[in-house]
Symmetry: C2
Subunit: 381 residues, 2 copies
């Protein structure tokens, strides 16, 4: 047994996490107590030293109440010092080991300004991205270059057509990496040039968003190359490259580009209603802390299974007050047909990015004309 421990200069400031916990009241309360220890000292309660470790380092149940049938909500607070002012370590405390324990879902992060102040958050956010695109009064329209297997020249033709037709943002499909049939640098160069040419003709500010997701030693290099070649933003898959790697890209003054994040490899966190991380936190709050400016996710009613309510939650997570951390664009993809638009506007308001993929291609071979059609539709809403 270690004796009583005193820790110098603890601020007393705490952040909180709201967890949904499955089970009857006794089980849920016991799981809540377990979270307090598992996520900090990772030590049995009776062996944990008295003094500042038990008083401050161990998590503290601030609130515990029934949230539904066999579900309880526990709000647990932790000392801000546990995070070391580091997003990775914050996530480690919030959900590291307990990700392996069934029936615990992170519902919401409640972060004081003392902790938020260590993060810059999005460099652009909704306002900054609108300024870049010079579109202020309607949702933004984004599409993707696809399918995998086309050459850089073929994708550049697509990009030119989309940009000519009035699409605001053109992203790489997230499956476009650095394959030999479509090398990263050649693709970015050609597509950036194609979009630039179209912009000169239309007078618009369409943004090309290459996918910089890749090997750990290439992510920064590719992002700088994107900047050098004149593309307008970065597409990144945080669960593949590391959530904090996105933060690093967002913080880099050498890059200084907007970042759109893609949910590839993230689904396991949200697929269970009883375990994992809520849509609100994962696609909203965490992506804002990581400095994303737009967060892609599958829209309700499309080929994925997110519900209308879950999508609405993501939109809330993108805009809920987080001190100086800017609001960002929810970017739902799929299911964007004309007859569903009214309902989609009800869920997202006007502050969202419409992601149209196959729908644009389905209208026929003239992609510029199909783009114009969707742009008109969006302007008329």
């Amino acid at each position: 047994m270690i004796g009583s421990v005193y820790i110098e200069n603890l601020s007393g400031v705490r952040y909180s996490v709201s967890y949904l916990i499955s089970g009857d009241e006794g089980t849920a309360l016991s799981k809540s107590r377990d979270i307090c220890y598992e996520q900090t000292v990772e030590f049995p309660e009776d062996l944990t030293p008295d003094g500042d470790i038990k008083e401050h380092i161990v998590g503290r149940i601030e609130d515990f109440a029934k949230a539904g049938e066999k579900t309880y909500r526990a709000v647990i607070s932790f000392a801000v010092e546990t995070t070391g002012n580091d997003l990775v370590q914050l996530l480690n405390v919030v959900f590291g080991n307990i990700s392996i324990k069934p029936g615990i879902k992170v519902e919401r992060l409640l972060l004081p300004e003392e902790l938020l102040s260590v993060f810059n958050g999005p460099r652009f956010g909704i306002d900054g991205l609108r300024k870049r695109l010079k579109v202020f009064d309607r949702p933004l329209i984004c599409t993707a270059l696809k399918p995998m297997g086309l050459s850089p020249a073929q994708l550049a033709d697509q990009a030119y057509a989309f940009a000519s037709g009035g699409i605001d943002m053109i992203k790489d499909d997230h499956g476009l990496a650095d394959q030999k049939f479509c090398p990263f640098e050649e693709r970015v160069k050609r597509c950036a040039e194609a979009v630039k040419k179209a912009n000169e003709e239309t007078g618009k500010s369409c943004m090309y968003i290459p996918n910089i997701t890749g090997p750990a030693h290439r992510v920064m290099e590719r992002s700088l190359k994107v900047k050098e070649l004149g593309a307008g933003a970065l597409l990144a898959c945080p669960l593949l490259i590391g959530i904090d790697t996105v933060r690093l890209l967002a913080d880099s003054d050498d890059i200084g580009l907007p970042i759109m994040v893609h949910p590839s490899f993230s689904g396991s966190f949200v697929i269970s209603s009883m375990s994992g991380i809520s849509h609100f936190v994962l696609y909203g709050q965490i992506m804002r802390l990581a400095g994303a400016d737009a967060t892609v996710f599958p829209n309700y009613g499309g080929r994925f299974s997110f519900s209308r309510e879950e999508c609405s939650e993501i939109a809330s997570g993108c805009s809920i007050d987080m001190g100086h951390i800017a609001a960002i664009f929810p970017s739902p993809g799929g299911g964007m047909t004309e007859d569903r638009m009214k309902d989609i506007f009800q869920v997202y308001g006007k502050e969202f990015i419409v992601l149209i993929g196959g729908g644009l291609h389905r209208r026929g071979e003239d992609l510029a004309e199909s783009s114009r059609y969707f742009a008109r539709m969006m302007e008329s809403m």
Copy 2:
């Protein structure tokens, strides 16, 4: 519609993924077809260009059979070129978007040497790690410095006691980051010195394993510092820093240290039997591709919920033939009581690392004596 597409220099070599898919036969078959498209061209089948894209880039169902009640096994192959010889993009194809679709579980990776050859895998593996530790004939014994809240000096005292008592490997608790009450560099320096001193006294080769998990721009810096300060290996949480970041550390000749990976933040991938990634693939195959030498996970019968069978699967994933990719140590933690040891040996054989945490502390204040007790127990098995 894009016309027929020809892609130069496709090798024809394919890798396969075995998926477990929930549903009746029709649903499962339809989901399998969907995987072929969703994970590659992300395009509706009828819009996908003929020629090499449909023939080679789109996934191909190689086998489809009933695997259990309302579960089917689909083996789907992809062109090696889709990966761009990149672990991140391999994971993207294997489970990127479909992570968001319920009822799909990655069961096993079947990788041809053409693809394996682009990865170095573990620098040490089981044989290399045993050579470093000079222990050849029994499982290795590892414990953790804890709890969070202790100072570097207090943790160094622990490390000295453990090393003096015959523990083979001493890792930082994964919650030790760079908190101001326990700064990274001071901790690593003091603990490395303490273990070195003990080794000089015992003549053994106990290894100290600092946790380098941290902000994206600090991971490499901390790993080099670990090397410089004479600690023996790295502890990393791949799901927090990015799986490929581990590969980068393993590949670095400047570091050249063994890597132990920790499952923090990974649980959502394995918590459902119907969605996610199997224990075999996530903690075994993927960690080997990433170059880990030892993979930590919660043992069955401890305070987590992995079953005996799931733990056994991890052990298989650590050692199954993967060409030149070395076998690595499964490192189960928890539940290591004397009366369970016989069964634990049955599951893991002798090639595993026993992770003992609270159990060592529970035996009393003399940690060196408790360490000797466990070391004797392990030697007598």
